[in-house]
Point group: C2
Chain length 209, copies 2
DNA sequence: CGGTTTTCCGAACGCTGTCAGGATTATCGC
DNA sequence: GCGATAATCCTGACAGCGTTCGGAAAACCG
């Protein structure tokens, strides 16, 4: 983090570093609050209190409340993107689908507020900025490329896939938050999907009841 | 509407009738507003303006803003319940599944605000009252009974089913509001599900690439 | 140190849901 | 129809919200 080399160019940057650090601190506090009280319950006054500021001072770092949401949106997508990069995708199509489905559903189930922010339109007029949306698009295309690598180029198949995975995630959060009632259906769901799109019944010991 | 018979018991009821009529009028205005501006954008002051009242007068009819949401919640579930009762369910399991899936997804796609209210937790601290929740439960059990009639008694199968249908609905609203990009996948999705749970491959020309 | 930029805060505006108290209105028993 | 009663409505107000303005304070620069 803190470089020991006092570079020539590092003078003007120090202010920017401090600025970004404070920004990060505010965002972390915001995450904590939305996780505790829900996405829509976030208040700038409470957020300022959490970071020991007056509410107006937040406007030094964020142009508006929506800008805070926007950075949280980008945060969440970056996190998901990182997980995509860290994970190893099998050559076996069925296995690859299982991996990616599990990745997404568990990611969604971890944090209700984050899920709402990233995948639902919970906040009245919020629309991600182009920069934040670009991250989301990157995540999306990564997921899509895994599907095509598995031999699924058809748009309808992909839409069906996203519907299936999104359904598992949303039901998990809505009907069994903190549990695994729908998470443990992932393998069966993927098997169902694979049977359908690959046309053949793939032997899968995990799906046996 | 206006009965010509001045019944003996109809004296004290007239007040109640007027009361309920105004309530209905307020709720209709509320529906209109949430449909136009989103569920969370509803304001009691704007609502009062729409029905030509002072904001405080609304409290004669509803104990709080949440109470308004609660009645909208019950409204929506009643509507869905009505559709369930009006529709004819085929004896053929596959056909029955198609019907019920189409019923639900189109219902969801019709009204984003209603969908959020009924099936997502968009409003910070809203929780339906026991009476309203009872309607939702009734809807749920109707859906479930159709599934069992189709020969699906397994809990996991039912959860997979709800996830699939909910996924189609949520994706339709999120990615193609007003369109039919996911609605037209319903038959394919049901076929996929039927193949999986009934164990046999049903001939379905639609899923061919 | 002087000058510049960044950060912070006091005050305020219009909005929100909600409560208390009184006036107005509609209904009831007679 | 009249007085009593209950339902309805409005005036006024409170605390909280996101946000803006203008100036003070602080940090940084040469």
């Amino acid at each position: 983090m803190t470089s020991t080399i006092p570079a020539d160019t590092g003078r003007r940057d120090r202010r920017r570093d401090r600025h970004d650090a404070t920004k990060r601190e505010i965002l972390d506090a915001a995450w904590q609050m939305v996780r505790a009280d829900g996405l829509n319950a976030l208040s700038l006054r409470a957020l300022a209190r959490a970071v020991d500021m007056e509410p107006q001072s937040l406007y030094t770092y964020f142009a508006s409340k929506h800008a805070v949401y926007d950075h949280l949106f980008a945060d969440g997508n970056h996190e998901l993107l990182t997980r995509f990069e860290q994970i190893e995708i099998s050559d076996d199509p069925h296995q690859a689908l299982c991996t990616i489905a599990r990745l997404f559903v568990t990611f969604a189930a971890e944090d209700q507020a984050r899920y709402e922010l990233l995948f639902q339109r919970t906040i009245p007029d919020f629309e991600p900025s182009p920069e934040s949306y670009a991250v989301a698009t990157e995540v999306f295309s990564r997921g899509r490329s895994v599907l095509t690598a598995a031999g699924l180029g058809d748009d309808a198949d992909f839409d069906l896939w996203t519907a299936l995975v999104a359904g598992l995630a949303s039901q998990q959060l809505a009907n069994d938050p903190g549990g695994d009632r729908y998470i443990r259906l992932i393998d069966a769901a993927v098997a169902m999907f694979a049977e359908h799109v690959f046309g053949k019944v793939v032997p899968n010991p995990d799906t046996k009841a």
